[in-house]
């Protein structure tokens, strides 16, 4: 491990194109994340922090 050649390890790799399943994962995560955030913001609006 201490001899791990990071430069070659990173630069020698051929670029792996994004697979459809990766695109789905990114898109689904972002879409769901933004949707849930909107829901939470709405909840935050209607159920504000109580002091």
């Amino acid at each position: 491990m201490s001899q791990f050649d990071l430069k070659n390890e990173i630069s020698s790799k051929e670029v792996e194109p994004l697979l459809p399943v990766e695109k789905k994962l990114i898109g689904f995560s972002l879409g769901l994340g933004i949707f849930l955030l909107v829901v939470l913001v709405a909840i935050n609006h209607f159920v504000p922090i109580k002091l």
């Binding site: 491990m1 201490s2 791990f4 050649d5 990071l6 430069k7 070659n8 390890e9 990173i10 630069s11 790799k13 670029v15 792996e16 994004l18 697979l19 399943v21 990766e22 994962l25 990114i26 898109g27 995560s29 972002l30 769901l32 994340g33 933004i34 849930l36 955030l37 939470l40 913001v41 909840i43 935050n44 159920v47 504000p48 922090i49 109580k50 002091l51």
Partner: protein
């Protein structure tokens, strides 16, 4: 979740990490249980050393309880050191560590870390309000509060890591920031419960808002950073998953858990982890001061922001502590005295909520990878969710629940005595924080950034952190926490 740099020559197995989690639970519960004994009139931890702001060094140290005043400050310091040495040595023995090496190294670690804490309590460093300056006869001070000692400890560690690498290597058996911060978080459960019991409505509102942190870290940060690493920087999937997890979720454990889930080689998440720690250190040195300058009128926004922006448990929770001190100091200078504990509780809540879902996220990624990308016989199994669950959080929950029950569900006498018991446990929380800061510093070898190949990894981190993570974290913290202040001291 867990943080911390692991040198490339020290592979960290999941098994070892889980054992460390349970060890943290045991030590944290031991401290908590011993502190609770004081409610029954048996003061088991009153000898623990505390440090006051001072100009005369001989007045700096004292035992926590007056009943142990006969020990004196020096005696309390030695008693605290010996107790920690015995408990931690026994603990690391169960992890298979070299106890003799640990004991020697821990002696040096404790000495330097606590000396840093004492330096941070010097009045010229710590005094905040004009009244304090007047009390010590000062015309100026850095106004860092006594928690400036955390920064001194961090800087001491950084100096050792970067200028005395052989000494850093000698110390490594006792450089266990993950263990120290996990113990601290378990103990923190008592303080958070005592704080929450005073204002249950506000506390439950904070918990609800922890959900926003989960959504942000796992669904938004991760997706964007993974895309940036893959599309803009051309990293392979094997590198991009731990990188996205380390930057977006929480440091070492997230990188290792998700790296393991997609069956990456162990070296990959470990190298990513060491980068996470370097950036976390930079953040701890900068963000609390930015929060004090720009967010002091929105303390809970600042607490949540620190929890969302700093990507290691140790640095984030400790950064929350510094932020709380700095903001309370600034507010106090303006005549506003907030109750302590709320900003740190907000940071810890955000961080703990994020930690809880690491196992689930790792399983989701593992399922996708082993079923759709690298199909093979080694498929991800649901049991991995439990295997990767950060067990120390169970310790936090137990301490929090017991403390909350004692505060609101038991007799008034017990409820009245609880804050003092929690305060006694908190002495050790602070000491474990100091040990964490120093250890993180010792692992922060900035020369790594100049190592060939690291620049590209660092570039992803830099672009993601400063171009996206910090600002989105600030926006979401503002959306959910702006306008709400900690209760004032009555």
């Amino acid at each position: 979740m867990s943080d911390i740099a692991i040198k490339a020559s020290e592979p960290l197995t999941l098994r070892a990490q889980l054992t460390e989690d349970w060890l943290a639970v045991v030590i944290g519960l031991l401290v908590f249980g011993s502190a609770l004994a004081s409610i029954g009139g048996v003061d088991l931890l009153g000898w623990a050393v505390t440090t006051s702001v001072y100009t005369d060094l001989t007045q700096a140290l004292n035992p926590f309880a007056k009943s142990y005043a006969w020990l004196g400050g020096g005696g309390a310091l030695i008693a605290t050191y010996v107790a920690l040495l015995v408990v931690l040595s026994a603990g690391v023995a169960t992890l298979g560590a070299d106890v003799r090496k640990f004991a020697l190294a821990f002696t040096a670690v404790f000495a330097i870390a606590y000396a840093s804490w004492i330096v941070g309590s010097y009045a010229y460093v710590a005094a905040v309000t004009p009244a304090e300056q007047q009390k010590f006869g000062l015309s100026w001070s850095l106004k860092l509060t006594n928690e400036g000692g955390f920064i001194v400890a961090l800087l001491a560690g950084i100096v050792i890591a970067n200028f005395f690498p052989r000494f850093a290597e000698w110390l490594k058996e006792a450089i266990r920031p993950e263990l120290y911060i996990k113990v601290a978080i378990v103990i923190l459960g008592a303080t958070v419960a005592v704080t929450a019991a005073a204002r249950l409505n506000l506390a439950s509102s904070l918990l609800l808002r922890g959900a926003a942190a989960i959504v942000e870290a796992y669904l938004i940060y991760w997706a964007v950073i993974y895309y940036v690493a893959r599309k803009w920087f051309g990293f392979s999937r094997e590198w991009s998953v731990p990188l996205a997890s380390g930057i977006s979720i929480c440091g070492v454990a997230a990188a290792i858990a998700t790296g393991g889930a997609i069956r990456a080689r162990p070296a990959v998440p470990i190298l990513v982890s060491s980068l996470v720690v370097v950036f976390a250190v930079v953040e701890v040195l900068i963000l609390p001061f930015l929060a004090q300058t720009f967010l002091w009128q929105e303390p809970l926004v600042a607490g949540a922001w620190i929890g969302l922006a700093i990507k290691t448990d140790g640095a984030a929770v400790a950064g929350g502590g510094i932020t709380e001190s700095l903001i309370m100091a600034k507010a106090a200078a303006e005549g506003i005295k907030y109750q302590p504990g709320w900003i740190l509780a907000t940071t810890a809540t955000v961080k703990i909520f994020i930690d809880i879902f690491i196992g689930i996220w790792a399983f989701i990624l593992g399922y996708i990878w082993t079923n759709h990308i690298d199909k093979g016989p080694d498929r991800a199994k649901p049991v991995e969710i439990w295997q990767r669950f950060p067990k120390f959080i169970l310790g936090f929950i137990v301490v929090f629940a017991v403390s909350l029950w004692l505060a609101i569900g038991s007799t008034p006498e017990i409820a009245k005595a609880l804050p003092a018991a929690a305060g006694e446990a908190n002495v050790f929380r602070v000491i474990f924080f100091v040990l964490t800061f120093f250890s993180i510093g010792v692992l922060s070898d900035f020369r790594k950034l100049w190592q060939q190949g690291f620049g590209k990894l660092a570039a992803v981190y830099f672009v993601s952190l400063f171009g996206f993570v910090i600002w989105v974290g600030l926006l979401i913290s503002w959306l959910f926490f702006s306008g709400f202040k900690p209760p004032l001291v009555s």
